[in-house]
């Protein structure tokens, strides 16, 4: 397959315009860390964006950073750390799940990445300020700007979040950045069953403790990280006296759930990175992984419903609202079981995050939409990519 490496937006636009004229489907990558995510795409040619690399604008006092889309996350994070700042949405790395890595800043937006801190700070889509992009028509356009308070026109930057390159190819992204907390402490409760654990997490989220991570690892997941019992973890970040006081108050509030243990850095950071990257479930490489998004209190019910029918290991994040499931390989990825469990327990959505390519070709990877929503998605796709050349079929058969 042909690979083209455009050097800048103008070249990229010309490539895309030509591909459109020839109705030639394109695969697009930055560092190719997420090629395992989504339905397999039958591309006739490959656009490699690795030349779109470099920070173009960074003003710590303005809390803004712009970079070309294929700039490595690791590069960005190192630069931000020098100024005690960070990407507050804590983008996950796919090192464990796919054996790849953290990917690019543009990829963060395209996959709408986030990590445990999503419950407090939001996801990539909540931190995007502006984009420059090339549409499937080969036209260069921009949206948004460099400031947080911006309601000028429709929010196309956010509209591109989670679109996996199927609407437009972003060439430059501008994100809000925030101060990094000077210290972190994790409150850990042990040996709680999922329902009880999520009750503890939700209670903590309802306290004025400013929790920035709320996760539960049942025994299997906890063992994978070296613990003997299920682990329920709450992260507190801030200045040391604040963190200590909040820890004490939270421990007192949660006393009915058990004795609170205290994890400091570096153990605390290692734990949250493992949760962020789903390490406890991902290391059994043959297992299929689902990512499920529900109302927090429904998380345990969904898992119970699934486990009544099939074997599944799980990990809860976002105070129960994010459920990761790992199941044994099977031809249909247990799709019916899992999506039914979600539908019958309050609703939400399930994404088939890791599975062999032939399974992903057969089973809907992203949550199937009701007809009216599917039609809106099709129309949006058609407006931005009328010839259907950008990653066709990556998200659904018609987009």
């Amino acid at each position: 397959m042909n690979t083209v490496c455009p050097r800048d937006a103008a070249e990229l636009a010309a490539c895309v315009a030509e591909a459109g004229a020839q109705r030639m489907p394109l695969g697009v990558t930055g560092l190719a860390t997420k090629t395992g995510l989504g339905r397999p795409v039958k591309a006739a040619a490959h656009l490699d964006l690795s030349a779109f690399n470099g920070v173009t604008f960074y003003e710590p006092q303005e809390l803004v950073l712009s970079a070309l889309a294929a700039t490595r996350i690791e590069t960005i994070e190192r630069l931000l750390a020098e100024y005690d700042q960070e990407l507050a949405f804590e983008p996950m790395s796919f090192a464990a799940i796919y054996g790849t890595g953290a990917g690019t800043l543009g990829g963060c937006l395209m996959a709408n990445l986030s990590g445990p801190r999503r419950i407090k700070a939001g996801a990539a889509r909540d931190h995007i300020l502006g984009v420059k992009a090339v549409s499937g028509r080969g036209e260069i356009f921009k949206a948004g700007g460099r400031v947080v308070k911006n309601v000028t026109g429709y929010d196309l930057s956010r509209g591109l979040a989670g679109s996996f390159g199927t609407l437009a190819i972003v060439t430059e992204v501008t994100f809000k950045v925030l101060p990094r907390a000077p210290s972190t402490v994790t409150l850990v409760l042990q040996d709680l069953a999922p329902q009880r654990a999520i009750s503890a997490l939700c209670s903590a989220m309802g306290a004025p403790a400013d929790v920035s991570g709320a996760a539960h690892l049942p025994l299997f997941a906890a063992r994978a990280l070296g613990f003997d019992h299920a682990i329920t973890a709450l992260r507190l970040e801030g200045i040391p006296p604040s963190v200590t006081e909040r820890f004490d108050r939270l421990a007192a509030r949660l006393v009915d759930f058990g004795r609170a243990e205290r994890f400091e850095t570096p153990d605390s950071a290692v734990l949250w990175r493992a949760i962020r990257d789903v390490i406890p479930l991902a290391t059994e490489a043959q297992r299929i992984i689902w990512k499920i998004s529900v109302a927090p209190t429904n998380g345990p019910k969904v898992v119970e419903a699934v486990q009544r029918e099939i074997f599944a290991e799980c990990l809860f994040d976002w105070s129960g609202g994010l459920v990761w499931l790992a199941i044994e390989p099977c031809a249909d990825a247990a799709e019916k079981v899992i999506r039914r469990a979600v539908a019958q327990n309050g609703g939400g959505h399930a994404t088939l995050l890791r599975a062999p390519a032939d399974v992903r070709a057969r089973v809907p990877v992203f949550q199937p939409q009701p007809p009216v929503l599917a039609e809106l998605a099709r129309r949006l796709k058609h407006e931005f990519d009328p010839y259907g050349i950008l990653e066709p079929g990556r998200m659904a058969a018609e987009v």
């Binding site: 455009p6 030509e18 700042q85 403790a209 006296p241 976002w318 609703g347 407006e383």
Partner: protein
């Protein structure tokens, strides 16, 4: 269209019986403008539906009969977002005023669009929760309107805008189809259509239900009232605070004219001779707030603050805010009329923009007072004028447009909170090329191909959807013939 008025009114009365259809002159007049009062127009008819089924039927009827429709919440828009069309229906959503559900465990509230912003906080405050985005009009503005405008407020640097706090909506499309986007869970399952709907100024659909996230209120809040003898010093302090890794709950600035107007009105104890006043609010756990207060004080003094007061009680904190909260009506006392502008700039450009405004003020012969969301760079220049003086409104508008162009020039944007509406429609080309605007209009085409929903807002030129269509390859020639090909 106007000839069909009687027919349209009759059809609407079939859908919404009784008082839900208003067709008398006197009745229509109440809806002739929103808070952008310089522009008024009587709608053809006003409809106030009670149920989602009625909303759906009204839109479906309008779609089938090519009747334009303008949705309206509380009518607090400062950009003319709910300005009616003489040949269109005005759809008021204010009967949708119930809070449907409060779920403390999952920390969400489900509300109808006509519920006021503050009413959501009121519904959850007994358990220590609140809804974070707090526009100044929160006592009156509707949550549906907040969704349309992606409203902000003093606390949005720390807690986000509406779009960061809405988890789901039920929305009726122009065809009458009812759609749910999002819900009680985080993240979209596919395209972020909810992200497109929030801030779409009532042009993509009519919201009939909103699911928002609520937060536990911070344990405490303290404020600093800091005076400077130059806006440069105040601006430098703001930059230093952010550089120190401090994100205040709120950080506001007022210039000398605004300070004195406020002081005349509410006697909050503001220092009248200050060139710039900063009100900084720090919230969180007490031990953290106490630490931050000292650090902010040190920063302000280092930058030459002429006065620095720290609130010792919640009552005192509220008096610090009293003048700022009364700033707009205070300015309304010193001038028969004023135009409230809304633009955002990178914070560091403030001295330059203030200097630019002083020059423009002289050129136009009109005074301006400034209230500035220093935390996020959102400016509210208040241009003082007298509508009774011929030409003064025009001059004020021209002055305002020049301010917004200056905002864009220094790397900012045309509107931070109030939306484009009709007010800034013609300035959109200052920020976006035709191609940029075409992609926004394409989104409109996805949701409302006939352009019947709130037409004439946001975009300076209407393009029929088909016009935006085909790609052109002129005479077989392609651009950039020398680059590598497939």
């Amino acid at each position: 269209m106007l000839a069909r008025r009687a027919e349209i009114i009759a059809a609407l009365r079939e859908i919404v019986p009784g008082e839900g259809v208003i067709a008398t002159q006197a009745g229509l007049r109440a809806y002739e403008c929103d808070a952008f009062t310089a522009y008024r127009a009587l709608p053809m008819v006003v409809v106030l539906p009670d149920t989602v089924a009625q909303v759906s039927a009204v839109l479906a009827y309008c779609h089938a009969n090519n009747v334009k429709i303008v949705p309206r919440g509380a009518g607090t828009s400062l950009s003319g977002g709910a300005l009616p069309l003489g040949d269109g229906v005005l759809l008021s959503m204010m009967k949708f005023n119930r809070i449907k559900e409060v779920d403390f465990a999952n920390r969400i509230v489900v509300a109808e669009p006509g519920v006021t912003n503050l009413a959501i906080t009121r519904a959850v405050e007994e358990r220590g929760f609140y809804y974070a985005p707090d526009p100044s009009s929160q006592i009156a503005c509707s949550i549906g309107g907040n969704v349309a405008e992606n409203s902000g407020g003093v606390h949005c640097l720390k807690y986000g805008l509406t779009t960061n706090n809405v988890l789901g909506v039920e929305i009726v499309l122009m065809t009458g189809e009812i759609v749910r986007l999002g819900g009680r869970h985080l993240d979209a399952e596919g395209y972020d259509l909810l992200g497109l709907v929030v801030g779409s100024e009532g042009m993509l659909g009519v919201v009939t239900e909103v699911t928002v996230r609520i937060l536990q209120a911070p344990e405490t809040a303290r404020a600093l009232l800091v005076a400077f003898d130059s806006s440069e010093a105040a601006g430098a302090s703001v930059a230093d605070i952010i550089a120190a890794g401090i994100i205040p709950g709120g950080m506001e600035m007022m210039d000398r004219r605004a300070i004195n107007a406020a002081e005349d009105f509410v006697h909050a104890g503001y220092p009248r001779e200050a060139e710039a006043l900063l009100i900084i609010e720090l919230d969180g756990p007490a031990v953290e707030v106490d630490n931050l207060v000292l650090r902010v004080e040190a920063i302000a003094l280092k930058r030459g603050a002429t006065q620095c007061r720290i609130s010792q009680s919640d009552a005192e904190r509220l008096t610090f805010w009293a003048g700022r909260k009364a700033a707009f009506p205070a300015v309304g006392r010193i001038s028969p009329d004023y135009l409230c502008m809304d633009g955002t700039i990178p914070r560091k450009e403030l001295p330059k923009v203030l200097a630019g405004m002083r020059a423009l003020s002289e050129r136009y012969g009109l005074r301006v007072a400034n209230v500035f969301h220093a935390g996020d760079g959102n400016l509210h220049p208040l241009i003082l004028y007298d509508a009774n003086n011929p030409g003064e409104l025009d001059r004020a508008e021209a002055f305002g447009a020049d301010i917004l162009r200056l905002c864009v020039e220094v790397g900012g944007v045309l509107t931070g909170e109030h939306g484009v509406g009709i007010e800034k429609r013609d300035l959109m080309p200052a920020m976006f090329t035709d191609v940029d605007l075409a992609y926004q209009i394409r989104v409109k085409c996805v949701f409302d191909e006939k352009h019947l929903l709130n037409p004439g807002k946001v975009f300076p030129q209407l393009h029929r959807c088909a016009e935006l269509g085909a790609m052109h390859v002129h005479a077989g020639r392609l651009a950039f013939p020398e680059i590598p090909r497939f």
